[in-house]
Structures are given as C-alpha cells and as structure tokens.
C-alpha cells in the first residue's frame, strides 16, 4: 500500500466513529440521489413515451411558416409585386399524391394523410363536439398506436364501412351511446351524416378519449365539403430522435409547416429541462451537505495530527505529500460512501419499483416508473467525489502549510 494511503487510513481508523458517520452521510446522499434521478428519469421517459405514442412524430399541416410569395413573383422573379390581389386560397395540402411521392423516397418512417375538422355528434338529444379525422384505416394504423387502444369493435371496421365511426370511450359515455348505435354527425359546412359506431378506444389521455373520432377519409371530405383535400400528413419515424431533422427537411422541400413532436411540445420540454435542473440542484445540495461532514472530520484530524505533520515534514515529506494524505482521507470517505450509496440507490429503486399504486390522472400508472441508467450512478458518485475532494482539499492545504518549526517548538 502506498505510504500516503496507509497514513491516511490510520488517521481515519483513529476517528472511526466519526468517519463512519461521514461515510453514512455520503451513502445516504448518493443513494437517495440515485433513486430520485431514477424516478425522475423514469417518469419523464414514461411521459414522453406516452406522448410520442399518442401523436405523430412529425406533422405536416396546411400552414406555412412564412406567407407564400405571390405566384407572380415566383414566376417572374420579381422583387416586389404591387397591386396583385391574392386568390381566396382554400386551405389544405395541395396535391397530396404528389406530396407523398416527394417524401416517399427518403423518409425514414411511414406517413398517413388525413383531413381533420370540428364536428358535432348527436344521439338521443345529447351533443358532443369533437375533432373528427378522416383517414385511410390501414395506412393510419401504420403511423398510430390507436389500434392497440381499441376497447370495443375494431379500427379496421372502418375500411369495410363508409358510414362507420370510431370514437373515444369518453365520447360514447357522454352521448350515452353504445357500439353499434347510429349517431348523427354534423359539421360547420352544413353537412349531416348518420354514422354507425364501429369501435371505441381508450388511450388514457382524457382529451383524446373524450373529444376525438375517426372516419374514412372519403366520408370526412364529404362532411367537411372538401373533396380530394387533406390538411394533415402524420409521419411516424423509425427513430423518434430524428424528428427535428426530418421536419426541417420536409419543410424545406414542400414549404408546408412540418412540426416535430419536440416542437409541438416545446413548453413541455422546457418544463422537463427545468425539472432536471431542479433535481440536480437538490442532488448537488444533498451531496454538498455530505461534504460538510467530511470537511469537519478531516479538519479535526489535521488539528489533532499537527505534531505528526511536523514530524513527517522534518523527515522529508513535501507539502504536496502532506496535502495528498488529507485529500486521500476526504476522497476515501467519499469513495466508500459512493460505493455503499450506489448499492443503496439500487436497492431503493428495486423497492420503489415493486410498489404498486392506483393513480387516476391523465396518464395512468400502476407502478412507479423507474429508469435504470449508469449515468445516474456516475453523476451521483461524481458529485459525491467532487464534494469530498473539495472537503478534503481545504483542510489538506492548511495541513500542508503548517510550519513544522512552530509545532515542534510548541510540543517540546
């Protein structure tokens, strides 16, 4: 064993009870930090997974980020066009077939065109307003997990039934209707159709369950009086993290607004960032407190061992050696605490993971979502070692600067 380490260990051994308390402090700090990080990360992952499942990864809509240049300007390369009166542009993604063909070749994922609008459902005197989306069922199932959320009937029933509708279970509940019932659907375009409920779904997101419905694209185009028009292209990617890049490329190619799931939930993402900042501030604070314990004990040892420091210096130890001894003491306590704390953290995670809850929120949980990541352990241990390093270094520097002559004079 290196000399510096063996001296450091005898010092710790001489103050065993206090050292154990310091180790426990670090251990608790590291353990709870890991459990907390794991829980925070777990709930975040869970939340994002639910979120991503429920919405398209990239959504192309019939907006443009900037107003389209007047056709005349485009055509003749004019800098400015005065006096041109724009057409009353009917909204929608123009020429969907050409649009899909443009993306087909390179898109790392699948896409589905749809037409959405507001509709009112009426059954037995009760009204429910919802967002009605017209889709091609087979194509849509390739970009959505709605098929897995079906409670009654089936999504594919729509393909066989032009007058079918699939709605959230909250909608049928509000209407008092059941599978197989026929309901009246009206839109602001003035159209009214009677559609038969061929399926209900339950996603766990209240807003979706209580206010959305699906029908075939053709029927929706009739209801909204927009023949051959779509207003949304939903894209599901193989890699969700590519969403921003894909959205940017789609936008560049088509000119239509393409929104990645991150952009669509930007404020939510900000909340998550703030949440992480808060968490790591708390982790830092916990481990800083653990650092105070180490600082106290190493300072006590420096004070107690002043004579030994003087004699080591007279024997030929450099300031650097003395500094290392006490820094080692701080780090040894921090390292032991980190190892034990990692075990504690793992134990806490296993314990928390085995608990089950009945929670009724937007997103249902049956047990605590926990994420196991080596990063949590690395960050908690890193913080702990950093703070124990500082806590050891400050008294170590003082020890190194002690004047051996003064101590030897004082002792004799």
């Amino acid at each position: 064993m290196p000399l510096v380490l063996s001296i450091a260990l005898t010092h710790i051994g001489g103050r065993l009870r206090q050292s154990i308390i310091s180790v426990l402090g670090v251990m608790l700090g590291v353990g709870f930090s890991i459990a907390m990080a794991s829980l925070m990360q777990g709930s975040q992952d869970d939340f994002i997974a639910t979120l991503i499942d429920a919405i398209p990864h990239v959504e192309v809509s019939d907006d443009r980020r900037e107003a389209a240049p007047p056709p005349a300007a485009e055509r003749f390369g004019a800098v400015n066009v005065i006096g041109a009166r724009p057409d009353d542009d009917t909204r929608g993604l123009r020429n969907p077939v050409r649009l899909e063909a443009m993306l087909e070749s390179w898109l790392p994922g699948r896409m589905a065109a749809s037409l959405s609008g507001q509709a009112v459902l009426r059954y037995g005197g009760r009204d429910v307003a919802l967002s009605l989306t017209g889709i091609d069922p087979a194509t849509y199932l390739r970009v959505s997990t709605i098929g897995e959320d079906m409670r009654e009937g089936s999504f594919m029933e729509l393909a066989a039934n032009l007058n079918g509708i699939v709605v959230g279970d909250g909608v049928t509940e509000k209407l008092g209707a059941r599978l197989g019932d026929t309901i009246a659907v009206s839109t602001s375009a003035g159209a009214v159709r009677r559609l038969k409920i061929v399926g209900t779904f339950h996603t766990g997101v209240t807003q979706a369950d209580e206010a959305t419905g699906f029908t075939v694209l053709k029927t929706a185009q009739v209801l909204f009086a927009r023949p051959n028009v779509i207003n949304r292209l939903a894209i599901r990617l193989d890699d969700v993290n590519a969403a921003r890049a894909v959205a940017a490329r789609v936008e560049r190619m088509t000119g239509y607004r393409a929104t990645s799931w991150q952009e669509a939930n930007e404020s939510l993402m900000e909340v998550l960032v703030v949440r992480n900042i808060i968490m790591y501030t708390v982790v830092g604070a916990i481990l800083l407190v653990a650092g105070f314990g180490i600082f106290t004990i190493v300072s006590t040892i420096v004070h107690e061992k002043a004579r030994d420091i003087a004699i080591l210096k007279s024997l030929g130890f450099e300031q650097r050696d003395i500094r290392r001894i006490f820094l080692t003491e701080g780090l040894a306590i921090g390292a032991l605490g980190s190892v034990l704390g990692s075990a504690l953290g793992y134990g806490l995670c296993v314990g928390l993971g085995s608990l089950t809850f009945e929670v009724k929120t937007n997103i249902e949980m049956t047990s605590l979502p926990l994420a196991y990541s080596p990063l949590h352990y690395a960050i908690a241990c890193g913080f702990a070692l950093f703070s124990s390093g500082i806590a050891g270094y400050v008294p170590a520097r003082k020890a190194a600067s002690l004047n051996p002559v003064e101590i030897i004079r004082g002792a004799s």
Binding site: T10, L315, R409, S412
Partner: protein
C-alpha cells in the same frame, strides 16, 4: 550505517554543512531575532555540540542547519550545494536523503509499529524493496538494542527505547548527518548515556556527522567540538 562515499581527494575540504552570515528574524510588530550572523563549517565525521543558555537560539540554529527553517539572511550549504534558492520540495528531498533529525521528544507516529516507524523515511525515498526495508529496519533496531521490540507500538516502550527508535528512524536512509535537539533532555542518566554512546559510535564507527544541542556540559565536553551560543550569536565558551 556505512561511511559516506568519498567523492574525491578534495572531499574532506568541502564542509558537509556550512552556514554563511546566517540570520533569522521572526517578523512581527516586535521582530524577534533568533540567531544573527552565524558563520560556521562542519566537516564530515565531526561530533559537534551546540551549547548555550536557554533561549540563546540553539534550536533555531539547528532547524536552520537542517533546512527545516529558512533564514532571513545568509545561507546554508549542504554538501557544497547552496540551499536558499531551492524549492520547498527540493529542500524536503535533501532532508529525506541527507539529514536525520532527533528531537527531545521522540515524535514517533503512534499508530505505526516500531519497525514501521523506522521504515517511513525509506518508503518515502523508495529506493529499496519492501523486504529490504524491513530487513534494514530490523538490523538498525538490533544495533540499537531493540531487536525484540520491532513489532510493538511506540507507547509500549520506555522513553529511552523510544528515543533510540527515533535515532533508528533518523538513520533510515543512511544520511551523512544527524541533527539532534537535546536528544537526552527527557531521559534519565542511564538512558542518556546509552543514547550518547550510540551517537558517539555513529561518528567513530560509521563516519557520520552528528550535531547535537545539549544543556549537559559534561556531555558537550566529551564531543569533538563545541559551538557556544549567546543571544543568538556564536561566542567563546
């Protein structure tokens, strides 16, 4: 414990430790002068006593000669090498390899056994293997009559025995010079005599240079040379 290697025919003329105009003043609102204008040269193989009344600066001079303290003016040369411009680390290195200290109190590390205490300077110097260190510590202890005590803790020994362990520790790295500050000051007359004989033998049989501060004038008389300090300055005894 072997004689320092001769470095040539001129070796005897290069003093082992030399002081030139050595002055140490403690700064403060009322500066305290510990020693003033000390010039001296100590040759290899000398057994030197530093005597003088209490408070005359004997310890202060020894700390300066042993590179434990830094002079305010003047300089100390060890084996011909000027030390006043050396870094703290280099001076520590010279203490480790060339100078051995023995104080009035033994200052052994209480958690380490006797043999481990003697091995500490060797481990710091790291020139020998662990086995060789252990063997050397045991042979040093045996020569000092402590063969049976190698694995005891310091507080299981008597004062005289501890002081002999401190001597063994000072000799650990075979330094050419031993500096002792009242090495017998806290011992009874029998133990004092034992320690004195050990120092005597170091000079006579092993060619070491020993500089010892002492209050005991009889003991000083039995050394080869006496330096007398009065008020921090060298004076005739």
């Amino acid at each position: 414990m072997s004689a320092p290697p001769a470095t040539g025919s001129d070796a005897a003329r290069v003093p082992l430790i030399e002081a030139r105009g050595l002055t140490r003043v403690l700064p403060g609102t009322v500066p305290v002068t510990l020693v003033r204008g000390i010039d001296l040269a100590i040759q290899p193989g000398e057994f030197v006593a530093i005597t003088g009344p209490s408070g005359s600066g004997k310890s202060s001079l020894l700390y300066l000669l042993g590179l434990l303290d830094v002079p305010s003016e003047g300089e100390v040369l060890v084996e011909g090498e000027a030390t006043h411009r050396l870094s703290e680390a280099r001076r520590a290195r010279m203490r480790l390899a060339s100078l051995g200290f023995v104080f009035q109190f033994h200052f052994l590390l209480p958690e380490f056994t006797v043999a481990e205490n003697v091995m500490i300077p060797m481990r710091k110097l790291a020139r020998l293997s662990r086995g060789e260190m252990r063997a050397r510590a045991e042979s040093l202890l045996a020569e000092l009559g402590l063969a049976d005590h190698a694995d005891k803790l310091p507080d299981q020994l008597s004062g005289g025995q501890r002081q002999r362990v401190a001597v063994a520790r000072a000799l650990a790295n075979e330094p050419p010079a031993i500096l002792a500050d009242e090495p017998t000051g806290s011992l009874d007359s029998k133990s004092s005599e034992q320690v004195f004989e050990i120092l005597r033998a170091l000079v006579d049989d092993h060619g070491k240079t020993v500089i010892a501060v002492t209050h005991d004038l009889d003991m000083a008389a039995r050394m080869d040379r006496r330096l007398h300090l009065v008020d921090g300055m060298l004076a005739d005894p």
